[in-house]
């Protein structure tokens, strides 16, 4: 069970836009050929990134441009923007038996720990910005 690749697709997309917006017209076809997915997938991703205020898109003429500073967009912001996880990361079996002492209390015993674990993961995502990634990328290029 894995978290959807929408996150890595979105990061890839944003890195392309922030790196090349002044040199190329970043159409969904262009981005799709770098990410290697269907252009419609990129358009869907861009819609989410636009809704989050990270990019602007030009209908008709084509092309995406940044709408927010890369240093002010964290991995967590992107993860949230593309709906990687809705609410809890962990599924819980529904309706444990309230007539059993364990069934009646399993939620109150477990929920906190699972939430803490999820938060630890999300906090790590908050500690990295798109700007950080762009700089790491530039060192490689």
């Amino acid at each position: 069970m894995k978290i959807t690749s929408r996150l890595t697709v979105a990061v890839h997309t944003l890195l392309l836009v922030s790196a090349f917006e002044d040199r190329y017209k970043l159409t969904s076809d262009f981005i799709a050929s770098s990410v290697n997915v269907n252009p419609v997938v990129i358009r869907r991703t861009l819609q989410k990134l636009k809704a989050a205020g990270f990019v602007n898109i030009r209908p008709g003429s084509g092309g995406a441009v940044m709408a927010k500073d890369a240093d002010e967009i964290t991995l967590y912001d992107i993860y949230t923007a593309v709906d990687c996880v809705e609410g809890s990361l962990f599924n819980f079996h529904e309706n444990p038996n309230p007539d059993c002492p364990v069934g009646r209390n399993i939620h109150s015993v477990l929920d906190g720990h699972l939430h803490t674990a999820q938060t630890a993961m999300e906090n790590e995502l908050k500690s990295v910005t798109l700007g950080d990634l762009a700089r790491q990328l530039n060192e490689k290029i």
Copy 2:
């Protein structure tokens, strides 16, 4: 996209066994009625817990008993035993375009951060034992 409820089912199962193994015969039907899932789901879960060395199961006569001290089983151990996540928690779009500077380097830029985030979550799971949960449960009862 969520992590399978096998984790919470397994924890619930182990809490039942550790709490009641000296008072009741913990058959898959008994456990299933507390967890409120199909008994076959419990049998499958117990098989994984047995393979991990956490319980012993009596075929024929019926019933599960603990095979390892609850203080020596962490949530992470259970999470691993029931195969909640295979390898990376995050899916990655496969085959980014190697002819693009971003596509060529996206993995080396992102992988480390995603791995760090996953590890932070798993470390939290390592910090909680079944014994901790059992004690919290006893306070509630």
